[in-house]
Amino acid sequence: MPLTPNDVARLADLARIELSDEELAGLTGQLDLILESVQVVASSVPPETTPTSHALSLTNVFRPDEVRPSLPVEDVLAMAPAVEDDRFRVPRILEEAA
């Protein structure tokens, strides 16, 4: 089933990306082509192949539960666009579009 401009508009909305109608039309075609190409790869793989999400066949890579020094708070807050009371100050959060 081909991707529709509505699908892409929905994804853009979820990703908080603003797209013009022109961009939407262009991206819909491009994304659809990518999906088709992936489909070609998928159809050439034997059906008994287990899907994998990782290039390595490693499992259980754990670290011990040991504390190491955190970043100095000055360095952390230097990255914030605005700071108040040693906290990141951000615009109010609610009242976005549904």
């Binding site: 999400s53 890579v61 754990f62 670290r63 970043l71 040693d86 109010r92 959060i93 609610l94």
Partner: protein, 507 residues
């Protein structure tokens, strides 16, 4: 966590009396509980997890989501998650992955939360809880690993709440702290007790997590958090109704209250022919009510996908079996076992649990006391004194070992019950262990039979009427003489011994 505008309680919110609602509807509840693990370091980085640290002092490139940083799983957190799953009688997945839950909200700088989606580490469990004297089985859908989000402080607006806030201040110390989220399947058939069952279930989780030692489970600090789902369906229907999810329910009592409130609210809407809106609601402890939050997003809005920066977790079955050995007995099984071992009635046991005396009695029995005597002291004298001082029973002023010692002195004939009560006074007053109090206050029962015999003879001489009655076959009349002897001995005699001496002397 993407959002819509919050609105106040809508004026058309109807209301139905709880009992009336119970006549018309069946209740279905579902509970999502987040347990913050007490690991020293975070889930995917080595930052500390201390509660209450100065803002943003426990962060690093990983938990701040800086480009190029890579997470590594905390092995202890995985172990805790497996142990939690085993305690909930879950199956442990032989192979599971982490997933990214994508959302835009400043509590996670990465714009996603690392969680688990279609492959939780623990699934298909059940636990038994007791509510109001009845047992209920709570089916557990899953328990999965994830990370906590940062803390927001909303500034501006009258209430300090998110509504009306002008801006927010973020502290990322909590971002990345390991969580286990435990989700029930829909729980049916609890009837009017649904709110109590929910409370009992969360209390069970709290006690079990504490017994496992995996979390501080301090609801007031947010290390155990509960979201309560509830829906109603007309009696006899099998189609689940529309549910609401109430958040911010941060005490056992509020779980019960919030569910009762939601049930009455939903019943009122349904009975008036309205439709319950699927949404998140907020519990307000002060007003004892819920208010509308955001409308519930569909699961696919989060665009979950497997976390490419972490390899799968594949617990070795031998490891799981070793961990299984470390799982403590479930509270319900423990109560059943102790009820039987101690020979208590169910009513006695319920009183013991209600008085928080179970651990104390168990420890007293382990110190060598008989269960009935342990119950007698804790539920009688000590409960009375704790109540009078408005203290928990455990802080009444006596240890289980001291209670066992006291009972030992009673059984050895050193103390009678009256003297034992004075010994309790002494122990609580800090005069030492029971034997020390006995020595210090000179409280031991008089075992000098010469002195006792003399007192008996004096009492007989002073009570000719009672003597005549005993001789006439009314042994109950001995009470007057025994009383006189006890009075003379200032209570420091064994009443049974006195009785024998009196009857022997008269007969």
């Amino acid at each position: 966590m993407t959002t819509t505008a919050l609105s106040a309680i809508s004026p058309e919110d109807a209301w139905m009396d709880y009992d009336e609602a119970m006549d018309l509807f069946d209740v279905v509840i579902g509970l999502e509980v987040h347990v913050e693990l007490n690991t020293a370091s975070k889930m995917f980085c080595s930052c500390p997890t201390d509660f209450g640290a100065e803002p943003n002092t426990q962060t690093c490139p990983v938990c701040l989501g800086l480009p190029g940083s890579l997470p590594v799983v905390n092995g202890k957190a995985v172990e805790s998650a497996i142990r939690i799953g085993l305690a909930l009688n879950c199956s442990i997945s032989p192979h599971c992955r982490f997933a990214r839950k994508n959302y835009f909200y400043p509590d996670m700088t990465k714009n996603f939360q690392t969680s688990q989606y279609d492959e939780p580490i623990c699934f298909d469990g059940e636990v038994e809880v007791e509510a109001d004297g009845e047992r209920f089985t709570i089916p557990v859908e899953r328990a999965h690993m994830e990370e906590d989000a940062g803390k927001s402080l909303h500034v501006g607006g009258a209430t300090g709440r998110i509504q009306g806030a002008e801006y927010s201040l973020m502290d990322y110390n909590r971002a990345g702290v390991p969580l286990v989220e435990i989700v029930t399947k829909p729980v049916l058939g609890t009837g009017a007790k649904a709110p109590q069952v929910a409370r009992a279930y969360v209390a069970f989780l709290r006690d079990m997590m504490r017994a496992l030692g995996v979390s501080d489970v301090r609801m007031e600090q947010g290390s155990l958090r509960c979201d309560a789902n509830v829906s109603l369906m007309p009696k006899g229907s099998t189609t689940l109704g529309t549910r609401t999810e109430t958040k911010n329910v941060n005490s056992l009592r509020s779980i019960e209250r919030a569910l009762r409130y939601e049930i009455s609210r939903q019943a009122g809407i349904l009975a008036a022919g309205g439709r319950v809106k699927q949404e998140t609601r907020h519990w307000h402890e002060d007003g004892g009510r819920t208010s509308s939050g955001r409308s519930k997003e569909q699961a696919e809005d989060y665009r979950y996908f497997p976390e490419p920066d972490l390899v799968p977790v594949a617990p070795d079955p031998a490891w799981v079996e070793r961990l299984r050995e470390t799982i403590p007995e479930s509270p319900v099984a423990r109560v059943a076992r102790l009820t039987e071992a101690w020979g208590f009635t169910e009513l006695e046991m319920r009183d013991v649990i209600g008085a928080d005396a179970l651990d104390l009695i168990e420890a007293t029995v382990e110190a060598g006391c008989s269960p009935q005597a342990a119950r007698k002291w804790w539920m009688g004298e000590l409960a009375r004194r704790a109540n009078a001082a408005d203290l928990p029973l455990a802080e009444a002023g006596m240890t289980p070992a001291q209670v066992a010692e006291l009972q030992g002195l009673v059984e050895a004939g050193t103390l009678n019950d009256k003297l034992a009560r004075q010994v309790i006074d002494g122990v609580i007053a800090g005069e030492g262990d029971p034997a020390q109090v006995v020595a210090h206050r000179g409280l031991a029962v008089v075992s000098d039979t010469g002195a006792l015999q003399a007192a008996v003879e004096r009492a007989i001489a002073a009570n000719p009427g009672a003597v005549a009655s005993i001789k006439a076959g009314r042994q109950a009349a001995a009470g007057a003489i025994i009383g006189a002897v006890m009075k003379e001995m200032r209570g420091q005699a064994d009443a049974a011994t006195v009785r024998e001496l009196v009857l022997a002397a008269v007969g």
